[in-house]
Every structure is written in C-alpha cells, then in structure tokens.
C-alpha cells in the first residue's frame, strides 16, 4: 500500500496535478479554493513549472488557453462565481479542441453567494455555461483520494478527447483533510517534444512546416457546422466510454437516493438511519456528471417506489434523474442550498415523510 499523507483537499488537488506533469497554473484568489492557488504558487516553480496570479479568472482561463494551445499541460481552478467568469474561455477552448483540467471548488450561489459548500453549479457544469454547442466532461469525486485519482484520469481524458475536463468538487472536499496516497511524480512533456505529441500546438514553425493556426471564428457558416460535426463524434464516444457511477444497497430498496460528491457520504449515513426505522434505502452515486450514467437506473429493482435527488441546490441533478428514470418512478428532491449543509438525520426524516406522507403517489414532487 502506498504511503498515505494527511492533506487538505485543495492542496492534494494541486500536488496531484503537479505529479501528473502539469507545469502551468493560473489562478485568482477566491474562497473556498485559495489553498490550491497558494499551494501552486509555492510548489509549481520547484517542479520546474510556471505560476501566474492573474488579474481575474477571466484572464486566468485565457492564460490557460494560451499555455494549452502552445502544448503545455495546464491546471486552473476557482469557485462558482469565478468559474462563471471562465465560461467564455471554456467554450472557446472546446471550439478549438485544446485539453485542460479545471477544478470548481463550488460554493453557495447564485451571484456572490456564500463561501460554504454548494452544488448549485450542476447546470452550469453539465449543460454548459458558455455559448454554442459543446460539452465539458465533468467528474464529481466524493473524497480527497477519489479527487486525486480523478485528476490523474482527467488529464488522460482531456488529452485523449482534446477537450477541457472539469473536476466538480465543493467547499467540503476543498477544505477538509483526509489521508491520501498521491500518484508517482510524472515528468512533464519537454518543450522540444511538444510537436511530436501535439503536432497542432503553437511552437513556431521553425521554417519546417506550414504555420499552425488555432481559430474559432468561421465566417462561412457551413465551415463552422462542418467543424462542429467533425469533432461531435468524440462526445458520442464519451457517452459510450466514460459514464461512471457507484450503486449501493439497491436490492430490495424501497427508495433510491441519488447524490454525488461529498453529499453522497451524508446520504450513506442517512441510509443507516432509515434502516433503523425499517426503511431500506439505496444510493446511486454518479461519478461522471457529464456524460451522466443514465444506465445506472436500469439497476433499480421492482421493490423501489421512488427516487430522490439529494443535492445542495434547489434541485438541478433532478433533471438527469428524470431522464434516467424515464417515468418508471416518481422523483423528488431533498436538498438545502445557499451553502447550508444537509445533515443525515434531515435527509432520513424528509425521505421518510415523502414515503409515508403519500406525497409520492405516482407523481414527481
């Protein structure tokens, strides 16, 4: 078993990225992810990398675009309103197909919101907060260990799909400390090797090839459509290859809760509380939020009377649950928002009330 270290989530995210060969980080202070920006300012240089504290998240995502389109392996991170400022840049990077990992240590919203954990950026992450036809591939780890493993995976997926990948964490994951075993240090792609691995990258044509151009504007509409259709297949492939989820206690479950990230761990405790009062509850934990694991719902048994979305928002993942349920069960939301955490007892009580109170008689609440 590899050696484990006790680490704050935000710092583990940064250290993992460095060990993945990320050598470029551009960030801006925003709670609750400051420790990540601070960690990179102190440790990236030691690994031979470059750090800039940008003038805004808007500048940071564009610095990331510059570094990524010239072949660098990049990490950027922020929290909810900062991620909102990055949306144009993320849409742009999808349009020109450059790899990136972006971490959202999300907090209460909308607007300035609060600085406690939130999951109200689900729509923004999975439906796209920028303009045009594109998708971010979105992972939602529920522990610091899983977040570290996810970041390693995110870089491989980002490079393979040539698409930004978002790791949607939250204030809890960013701030708490847990033992984590970190990946081995991976050497970064050397500057001179970039063209071999990324022939499209901007490195200077050295008078040996036609110049590389990375462009997003298409004044001829057919050309833009052709370009989009050209890379759209990768999203179909992603839908086949990437969906991931965990299912727990589904057999014989009377109700199945659906929850991601740190909220899923609160639901696990609620399941035990419900069991004490004779109600068997199960959990589906989506790990990829886009592409969403709709097939998970086929694992739900005939004993289940309802599905319940447990999230820290007014109910955004509910849309995907309704798609996955496909009318087979009524669905409801049990949630708190604004940065308020929902506790296991409250989850258990409200689910019990839904089941016994007849609120779910055949229709979604």
């Amino acid at each position: 078993m590899k050696e484990k270290v006790l680490m704050k989530g935000n710092e583990a995210f940064g250290e993992t990225a460095i060990r993945c060969g990320c050598r470029f980080y551009f960030g801006y202070p925003i709670t609750p992810q400051n420790e990540l920006t601070e960690y990179m300012s102190a440790n990236l240089k030691k690994a031979g990398g470059e750090f800039i504290q940008a003038e805004s998240e808007l500048a940071a995502v564009n610095m990331a675009y510059g570094a990524a389109c010239s072949g660098g392996r990049v990490l950027i991170s922020s929290s909810s309103p900062g991620i909102a400022l990055m949306q144009e840049g993320l849409s742009f990077m999808c349009s020109v197909q450059v790899p990136l990992v972006v971490i959202n240590v999300s907090r209460g919203g909308p607007g300035v919101g609060s600085i406690q954990p939130g999951q109200a950026d689900y729509y923004q992450a999975t439906r796209g907060g920028g303009n045009g036809d594109y998708h971010l591939i979105v992972y939602a780890p529920s522990s610091i260990q899983e977040a570290s493993d996810t970041i390693v995976k995110a870089y491989d997926v980002a490079e393979k799909y040539r698409n930004p990948v978002m790791v949607l964490a939250d204030g809890m994951l960013g701030q708490m400390m847990e033992p984590v075993s970190l990946p081995e240090m991976k050497e970064a792609l050397a500057e001179e090797d970039i063209p071999k691995v990324k022939p499209w990258a901007l490195v200077g044509h050295k008078d040996q090839r036609p110049h590389n151009v990375i462009k997003s504007l298409y004044l001829q509409t057919e050309q833009l459509e052709e370009t989009i259709n050209g890379y759209w297949g990768k999203y179909e492939t992603a839908k086949k290859e990437l969906p991931e989820y965990e299912a727990y206690n589904l057999d014989g479950a009377e109700v199945v809760m659906v929850a991601y990230g740190s909220t899923s761990r609160i639901v696990l405790e609620a399941i035990d509380l419900l069991a004490e009062s004779g109600i068997k509850a199960g959990l589906i934990r989506p790990i990829t939020l886009w592409p969403f694991p709709y097939n998970a719902f086929d694992k739900i048994g005939s004993s289940t009377k309802a599905v319940v979305s447990v999230e820290l928002s007014k109910g955004q993942m509910l849309d995907d649950i309704l798609i996955g349920s496909n009318g087979r069960w009524p669905a409801a939301v049990v949630s708190r928002t604004g940065g308020v955490l929902i506790y296991p007892q409250e989850v258990a009580d409200r689910v019990k009330e839904l089941l016994e109170g007849g609120k779910l008689n055949g229709k979604s609440v």
């Binding site: 800039i52 808007l58 564009n62 510059g66 010239s70 660098g72 044509h205």
Partner: protein, 248 residues
C-alpha cells in the same frame, strides 16, 4: 537588376481581405518584415484579436491563434510561459485593447510580460461597422456617436501609450504612425526595437500605430491619411514614452 523592395516572405501569398487603403496591411507587413530580418519567423507565435485583423492568421506566416475579445495579452502570457524563447506578440485594435481588454493589457505591462504588443489605433470599431471606440476623438462621428463623440457623455479619448508608460513593467512604449513613407520607416524601427526588447528579456514592449479606417470614417484612403495627420496626430503625439537604456 537590383531589388529595392519586394514583399516579405513573412506575408503568405494570399490576397488580404481588408478594405482598400486599410493600413492593417502595412502594419502586418512591417511586423513580418522585422521577424524575417531578425530570423524569427520560425520561432514566432502571434495572437490575433477580435476585430478586422482576427483574420490576420491567413496572411502572417507564423504560428498564430485567435483570442476572445480583449484577452490576447493574457493568452500571450500563457504562451510565453510554455515557450520563454519564442518571439511572442499580440496584434490588437483599439476596441480589443483599449475597451474590453484594458485589464489584460494593463496587467501584462504590470507584470512586465516579455512579449510585444502592436496596438492598431484607428479611433473606431472596424469589424462591427463603425461604432465609437475609447480612442474615438471628441466630435468624431461614429454609428454610436451620430452627432459626434461628446466629452460630457463619453469622456475624452484614451491615450493608451501614455497610460501604459506609467507602469514600470512597460519598459518600451512608443507611438508611431502609418500615414506616410517616412513614418512607416520609423514605425518599422519601433517594431525592431520591440522585438529586441523581447529578445533581451527586458520587459513589456508596446508599439501604438496610428492607423486609418477609410470605410468607417467615410473617407477615401488618401483623405483618411490626411484626416489622421490633421486630427489624430494632434491628440495622439508620436514619440517614445518609455525606452530602456539597453536598447538605444
């Protein structure tokens, strides 16, 4: 037969789509001639703005990327971190740089970023059809200042070179003009100096080029050159505002 002037190989053999008499074509040529003469074409990476010259990558024979409006200096900062020895430059108009991109250009100068920015000031938005830019002169008619720009409503035009010259990281700041052969020659010297500053890693190099926009000014190309001389040059004096000793 001795060659006196031939189109630089830094410009690709493609017809430019800019309007007749648009001085973008001159600015493009000067930058590419300079890169060619300094043996940097193969090591150059350019960032095109949002504006008429977003299509400059069709003409400039260097690796290039497009940018979101105003973000070129941030993009160039990212590029320069990956390729510290590349000749990195941004090419931006006054809408891109002096309006939506002011934070990025100020902070690139503030960080002393080691790339060059070539700022095309033609006192108007070209691509979108002639709206007021921050550099539009008081009294100048545009599609959003139909009675002429009013100082009371929209303030006085922004003098970007003077503004950036107050920032220590901007070690070389000069304003030139593309209105005459003599000024075009001086402008080219400034482009050379900007890349010299970058090669010597001294800090941020900035060259503002007074330019014309015949179509949106509603003047002929030649009359536009005259308008530039009698109006823009009065408000935007040419000259060097910051000059590092190492590059005389």
């Amino acid at each position: 037969m001795e060659k006196v002037f031939e189109y630089t190989r830094g410009m690709l053999d493609v017809k430019l789509t800019y309007c007749p008499g648009c001085t973008h074509g001159i600015a493009h040529r000067l930058i590419m001639e300079t890169l060619d003469e300094r043996g940097l074409l193969g090591d150059a990476i350019g960032v095109a703005p949002i504006g008429c010259s977003i299509t400059s990558h069709r003409y400039l024979n260097v690796d290039m990327c497009e940018s979101a409006h105003g973000r070129a200096p941030a993009i160039a900062s990212g590029i320069k971190r990956v390729h510290p020895n590349a000749a990195v430059f941004t090419y931006q108009g006054d809408g891109d740089l002096a309006s939506i991109g002011t934070a990025e250009i100020v902070h690139a100068a503030h960080r002393g970023e080691k790339f060059c920015t070539f700022f095309i000031n033609n006192a108007i938005y070209g691509m979108t059809g002639g709206q007021m830019a921050p550099t539009t002169l008081v009294g100048q008619k545009t599609t959003t200042t139909r009675e002429g720009r009013s100082e009371a409503a929209c303030g006085k035009p922004l003098r970007i070179s003077e503004m950036l010259a107050t920032i220590s990281g901007a070690v070389y700041v000069e304003r030139v003009s593309l209105d005459s052969p003599a000024n075009v020659r001086k402008a080219k010297k400034a482009v050379h100096k900007a890349f010299e500053v970058q090669e010597k890693k001294l800090g941020f190099a900035f060259v503002e080029m007074l330019s014309t926009c015949p179509t949106n000014w509603g003047l002929s190309p030649v009359a536009s050159l005259e308008w530039l001389r009698s109006n823009m040059m009065q408000y935007y004096p040419l000259g060097v505002f910051r000059n590092p000793e190492e590059v005389m």
